[in-house]
C-alpha cells in the first residue's frame, strides 16, 4: 500500500515528531508508515485523514500486490 503521508506532512510543514504527537503515536510509527513498512489501523488512518483534512482514499492507495 502506498501513502502520501510525507507529501501531506510537507504541505503542513510538520516534522515526523510533530505529526506523531498530533496522531498520538510514536515517531517510529510515522517513520515506518512513510517508508511503507507499516500499514496503519483504520483508527490511525482516520486520525491522519482528519489531521490533514483529506479523505482516507487520498492518503492511502492500494497496490497490485495488496490483492494477492
Amino acid at each position: 500500500m502506498k501513502n502520501s503521508i510525507k507529501v501531506q506532512r510537507a504541505i503542513y510543514n510538520l516534522t515526523q515528531a510533530q505529526l506523531a504527537e498530533k496522531a498520538k503515536v510514536s515517531r517510529q510509527t510515522i517513520n515506518a508508515m512513510e517508508l511503507g513498512k507499516y500499514v496503519p489501523s483504520t483508527v490511525l488512518s482516520l486520525r491522519l485523514s482528519e489531521i490533514f483534512d483529506v479523505p482516507v482514499n487520498e492518503l492511502f492507495n492500494l497496490e497490485e500486490s495488496d490483492w494477492e
Binding site: Q16, V25, N31, A32, L35
Partner: protein, 158 residues
C-alpha cells in the same frame, strides 16, 4: 479494543531492579547448591512425595524455600519487564510485541523439543529448570532487539 493486559510503564524499571539480583542469586544457588539453613522451614504442600518418606496429598513438609523465593521473584520481575507498556505503546509497538512473543514461543518450544530428544536423565532436569524462564527471557531479548532496530531505522530527514 483497549484491553491489552499490559502493566503501566513504571513497572518495567521495578522489574529490572528485581530481576537482575534474583537471577544472579538464582544461578549462584543452582551452581553451588546453596541452601542456607535459616530458610529450612515446614511448608504446606499439595502433592508430597519425599525421596525417603511418605507419599501423600495435602500436608506439611520440610523444605528449603530459597528456590521458591527466587523462582517466584524471577518470574514476577520477568513478567514486569516483558509486559509493561513502553513509554509510547502505540499500534506499531503492539504489533512488534506480538511478533516477538510468537518468535519467543517457537524458539522456546523448539529448543525444548531438541532437549526432549537429545537430553536424558538428570541433565533433562536442568533443561526443565531453565525452560521455566526461557520463554520470558527470549521474548525480552527479541522484543528489545526489534525496538532497537526500529529506532535505528529512523531516518533523520524531516
Amino acid at each position: 479494543m483497549k484491553t491489552n493486559y499490559l502493566l503501566p510503564h513504571r513497572f518495567k524499571k521495578v522489574g529490572w531492579l528485581l530481576f537482575i539480583p534474583s537471577a544472579i542469586l538464582g544461578l549462584f544457588m543452582l551452581i553451588y547448591d546453596w541452601t542456607p539453613d535459616f530458610l529450612n522451614v515446614n511448608v504446606f504442600g499439595i502433592f508430597i512425595d519425599e525421596v525417603v518418606g511418605t507419599k501423600k496429598y495435602f500436608g506439611i513438609v520440610s523444605n528449603n524455600i530459597l528456590n521458591e523465593i527466587l523462582g517466584v521473584l524471577v518470574i514476577i520481575s520477568g513478567l514486569m519487564i516483558a509486559f509493561s507498556k513502553e513509554r509510547m505503546e502505540d499500534e506499531l509497538i503492539s504489533k512488534i510485541r506480538l511478533q516477538s512473543l510468537v518468535w519467543a514461543t517457537y524458539w522456546n518450544y523448539g529448543i525444548l523439543i531438541l532437549a526432549f530428544l537429545f537430553v536424558y536423565d538428570l541433565s533433562f532436569f536442568w533443561v526443565m529448570i531453565f525452560n521455566m524462564f526461557t520463554v520470558l527471557i527470549f521474548f525480552i531479548i527479541k522484543f528489545n532487539w526489534s525496538l532497537m532496530n526500529l529506532n535505528k531505522a529512523l531516518t533523520y530527514e524531516e
